[in-house]
Symmetry: C2
């Protein structure tokens, strides 16, 4: 039996789709921007600037396992990874809609906990659960679409980095990957990295700060620092040079590396799904508390200490099952 599912209580089938959707969407935090609340054919909201939209799906057995993450964590993570994409554009987060597919035999309490996790993460970010759909399917799938408001700011694109800029990061790197690494080996600790895998700590509000400070390009680290900086390098037509000395390798990552004989720097450079923000700036524009980790150069590619990172060490985040 899968923990947290198929238990003795009411199932999704017992409660019914419409009733459960209503329960999922209950508790809208309305700050005046929502003009049509959930419960009609569609929701509606007001923006001050361009509307920003992104969508991302989490599938059971591919992106999460119900024995490694509880429903609240999965809901929170599904929201967090989408809101991080809005932060990376320099947008204010506004709300999310979620299309949830589960077997009808799933415990209704599991679905309620999932939506509670979504609401918690929305609240952390200053966003709102705007709408949703609940359908039956053979396995659990959670598709979230996030909506933001540029509020008159220009979007921060991937293609704006200029030689001479510095590269700066805000947020965690490698924690989620280290957490996944220990879980796949049957451990549940260090708890700090396992928690980071379950729900990433997105630096909410820092995307707007970076945009206001004049970031020339920005991305959130979902595939790994090197892979995501590769997107900036390619779309900007520049090279990016990272200094490993500038990278923080925190204690929990060192502990995981020491126990397993792996390289702690590998987690930092190639671990995805922490959704740190990394951007390029004129040196004088870097927001306080952002760490400068490298610079933008002529040419192309992403080098670490002026060398290509050893591909044996991994070149990007690979989901645990494909």
């Amino acid at each position: 039996m899968i923990p947290g599912r198929h238990e003795a209580g009411e199932t999704v089938g017992d409660v019914g789709e419409f009733a459960l959707i209503d329960q999922m969407l209950d508790g809208l935090v309305d700050d005046g921007r929502v003009t049509v609340r959930p419960g009609d054919d569609a929701a509606a909201f007001v923006t001050e600037g361009d509307t920003v939209v992104t969508t991302d799906v989490l599938n059971e057995g591919v992106h999460f396992r119900t024995d490694w993450s509880d429903a609240e964590d999965i809901g929170a993570r599904a929201v967090a990874q989408n809101l991080a994409d809005l932060e990376a554009m320099g947008a204010d987060v506004l709300g999310v809609v979620a299309a949830v597919s589960v077997p009808t035999t799933t415990d209704a309490a599991w679905v309620r906990a999932l939506s509670a996790g979504m609401r918690t993460e929305c609240a952390r970010a200053g966003a709102t659960l705007l709408g949703g759909d609940l359908s039956s399917s053979p396995h659990i799938s959670i598709a979230v679409t996030a909506l933001g408001d540029l509020r008159g700011r220009a979007p921060v694109r991937r293609g704006g980095a200029r030689p001479g800029d510095v590269v700066a990061v805000k947020g965690r790197l490698g924690w989620s990957a280290a957490g996944l690494f220990v879980l796949t080996r049957g451990f549940k600790s260090p708890r700090a990295v396992v928690s980071a895998y379950r729900v990433p700590e997105v630096p909410y509000g820092e995307g707007r700060r970076a945009a206001e400070a004049g970031a020339t390009s920005m991305i959130d680290v979902s595939d790994g620092l090197l892979a995501d900086l590769g997107h900036i390098a390619e779309q900007s037509g520049v090279g990016i040079r990272i200094s490993s000395e500038a990278l923080d390798v925190p204690d929990p990552l060192q502990a995981v590396a020491a126990t397993t004989g792996s390289s702690p720097l590998r987690f930092v450079l190639t671990g995805g799904e922490d959704h740190a923000l990394v951007g390029t700036f004129d040196q004088v524009d870097v927001p306080s508390d952002w760490a400068i980790i490298g610079r933008v150069a002529e040419g192309g590619g992403v080098l670490v200490d002026d060398e290509e990172w050893d591909p044996e060490e991994g070149t990007g985040y690979v989901h645990f099952q494909r």
Copy 2:
């Protein structure tokens, strides 16, 4: 082997997630409203009025079967059912984002055809494919989120029907259900109803017309005419009285009913997923070409010829597998 999948050509795994997403999103129809095209962390667009958002998912084996519908049909239908929800608010359609999950062994051509169907349906409606995600999963799941623009109009809600209004409909009723009915019995004809099941014919632009004409409430028929009018009756606190004489029972539905011994009116009253628009209006406001089928009364519930519709005949659309 499932037709149209797992064939000899390249698979999704061969082509890779990023390359296929790029191919899926190629061909954006840009009418100046899109300020950030797909390919960055998020897309961005401009609205003139409130932004309207809705999300809906299609799951393999629950909402579609790949031996009954080809990939283009499935993509078109996933878009159509979401855009219909925007029409039902009286909004102009703007764009969609799609989170597509498929097994990595799926033929890449199947995914390309799916997105081609999405683009075709977007073009029919005057919308654009704004972004997407492609992930692996054990079965096919297509979650679409649609975005619209009220352009300064007030949204047409479900709760605004007033006693004395008339009920009017635009679009097909019962065709999709009749198509599903014959498919489940192993037939492929009448082709008109099978086609209607595969891709509904949403009356694009009619939602705006109804809003501009002064519709007091509106909904799209996704669960069946009686079930969806039930939502209007409940949220408006009124009764709705339908006249069966006013309902068109077209030839293909009569043919299906005659062959199978079923009631053609049952398809019209309870068949879902054609996404006709049904609204309530002051009698003088009904747009031309909308058919008046009943009236709004004091009280509650939905009656047909002043009686409750026999529940033996079915009271709403039931998906073919739960």
